[in-house]
């Protein structure tokens, strides 16, 4: 089958990306502005032999997704603000049990019920820190409908590679807009490494090396492993009283992602358009569309990351050191905090734009001119 050119909503493209990546299980709970993903999955999954189930809430949705993943099936859920909040405990459980799974968050305005039908980027920190404890995840942010397709696939691939939950940190702008999308057939699909079927595994959760990703002994293949959200030793057994076990475990859970930050950024890609200017604009997701347009008019350099987490401070320093940097985001300042830590904070400025829409290019240009005096 050749590639297919379509004119789709971002949410629809996300569902198509999931199917292309091998997702065969979706559990979810309808919530604006992500619902079209569930709707499309409910139609498409049975066509490809997959299972769609609508759960009783978002807590159950991510639980079922994690269960499906341990049954050996690639699984996803999709949600927005309030639902993402409810999923946080199981984000932590997935991180702790090293369960590959994809969570799509089509961000809307908050806190609380906020602006259900309007765009926001105010879950950037929640995606990374929303569950309790020390952990890392992967979060990618699409700016186009094509990227809703492509980055959903990347989410699955990195989730499978690293055995971590991966978040597609989308927003209502790209979730709801329609654009041309090429449903590529030649996508690279990564599957989790599995141990030999029937093999008895003495140490399913090795504590070292500190960035190790062990093969996943999914259920029903004779490994007879115990998987727990408690701090566990190499055998997977609870070891809550041993400080050294806990330290080594959480260090590995973090390092397996952190130490691969550059690799993830290089592989997923980013835009860096260098121009003769002292000013660099930084933006991601739906908001970046405004900023790319403004930067062109301003003749300013622009950096658009697609990987939001893990943040690669060295990369940001390498690209943006020496610039006056203006970060534009649809919140009151989240990504900017990471940029400030990477660079001389004095040189980092914020145009925080909550409210439901990205700022117009004119608004960004005005802010850039103000900074430049």
């Amino acid at each position: 089958m050749s590639e297919k050119v379509e004119f789709l909503q971002g949410n629809e493209a996300c569902a198509e990306g999931a199917i292309a990546a091998g997702c065969r299980f979706f559990a979810g709970y309808p919530i604006t502005p992500s619902t079209e993903i569930a709707e499309r999955m409910s139609e498409r999954l049975p066509e490809v032999g997959g299972v769609y189930v609508q759960m009783e809430d978002e807590i159950a949705s991510l639980a079922a997704v994690i269960g499906a993943s341990w049954a050996g099936v690639k699984a996803m859920t999709a949600t927005a603000g309030p639902g993402f909040s409810l999923m946080q405990e199981h984000m932590g459980f997935a991180a702790m049990t090293e369960t590959p799974c994809v969570i799509v968050n089509v961000q809307r305005g908050g806190p609380s019920t906020g602006q259900p039908t309007k765009a926001s980027q105010s879950d950037v920190m929640q995606a990374r820190w929303g569950s309790h404890g020390d952990y890392e995840i992967v979060a990618l942010s699409p700016s186009t409908v094509q990227e809703m397709y492509d980055l959903t696939i990347e989410c699955f691939n990195w989730s499978e590679r690293l055995r971590v939950p991966a978040v597609l940190l989308a927003d209502e702008v790209v979730g709801h807009m329609r654009e041309r999308v090429v449903l590529r057939e030649d996508v690279e699909v990564v599957d989790r490494e599995l141990p030999e079927e029937g093999e008895e595994i003495e140490e399913p959760f090795p504590l070292e090396p500190d960035d190790h990703v062990p093969p996943m002994p999914v259920f029903g293949r004779g490994h007879r492993v115990h998987v727990t959200g408690l701090t566990h030793d190499e055998r997977g057994y609870p070891a809550t009283d041993d400080p050294e076990v806990h330290r080594k475990l959480v260090r590995r859970l973090c390092n397996k992602v952190r130490k691969r930050a550059r690799e993830i950024h290089e592989s997923v890609g980013y835009d860096f358009i260098e121009r003769e200017s002292d000013l660099a604009l930084v933006a991601y997701g739906g908001c970046a569309r405004t900023v790319l347009e403004a930067a062109e008019e301003l003749g300013a350099t622009v950096f658009r990351p697609k990987v939001i987490h893990p943040f690669d401070a060295d990369l940001v320093r390498k690209l943006l050191d020496g610039y006056e940097v203006l970060v534009v985001e649809m919140n009151l300042g989240q990504y900017v905090e990471m940029v400030e830590r990477a660079l001389d904070a004095e040189c980092v400025h914020l145009l925080g734009h909550p409210g439901g829409y990205p700022p117009t290019p004119e608004r960004v240009i005005k802010e850039a001119e103000r900074i430049q005096g």
Binding site: M177, R178, P361
Partner: protein
């Protein structure tokens, strides 16, 4: 070339579909870029409906319509709300069955009795959206007739392709004559 199009009316007229068809014609069957957005939630309740399309031969970054080149108005409420935003050298195409125009500067207005034509000629009020879309295409050449028809065939409910294509042709004829 970059054109901003706003299609507006009330719920049930197929306003969103008209925008999707136009965007699809431009993005899939022509070499253009196109972005379609629409009203959601409270904005889309109470009857009002809006579907925006930007068509350009360059990359479209900022995705929202700021100053429409073309406005399609299929209800009085939509006309009243959006007509003042249309560019001075723009064009307003309105359903003359339902809309009484009143913008008093010299923005070009074309009235098409889309709902009446759909009902009387095709016996289906529901395809008035395609009648007016056909008229818009004929007046603006935003996309080719062929591209628009193919997009209609893709996007309308199965079994209704023929009547919808006829509606497009009807609208085009309506403004040619």
């Amino acid at each position: 070339m970059k054109r901003e199009v706003r299609i507006s009316g009330f719920g049930g007229q197929g306003i969103v579909l008209a925008g999707v068809v136009l965007g699809r014609a431009a993005a899939v069957y022509e070499e253009y870029n196109a972005v379609q957005t629409q009203s959601y939630g409270p904005e889309a309740r109470g009857g009002a409906s809006r579907s925006d399309v930007i068509i350009s031969d360059e990359e479209i970054m900022y995705p929202y319509v700021r100053e429409p080149d073309y406005l399609v108005a299929m209800s009085q409420e939509a006309y009243d709300k959006y007509a003042p935003e249309v560019k001075e050298d723009g064009l307003i195409v309105y359903d003359s069955t339902l809309v009484e125009p009143h913008r008093d500067d010299d923005v070009e207005h074309v009235g098409v009795p889309a709902t009446k034509l759909a009902e009387e000629e095709l016996g289906r009020r529901i395809v008035a959206n395609m009648v007016i879309l056909g008229a818009l295409r004929e007046l603006t050449d935003l996309v080719s007739e062929e591209a628009l028809k193919r997009a209609v065939e893709d996007a309308v409910p199965p079994g209704t392709e023929e009547i919808n294509v006829k509606a497009v042709e009807l609208g085009a004829r309506g403004v040619r004559e």
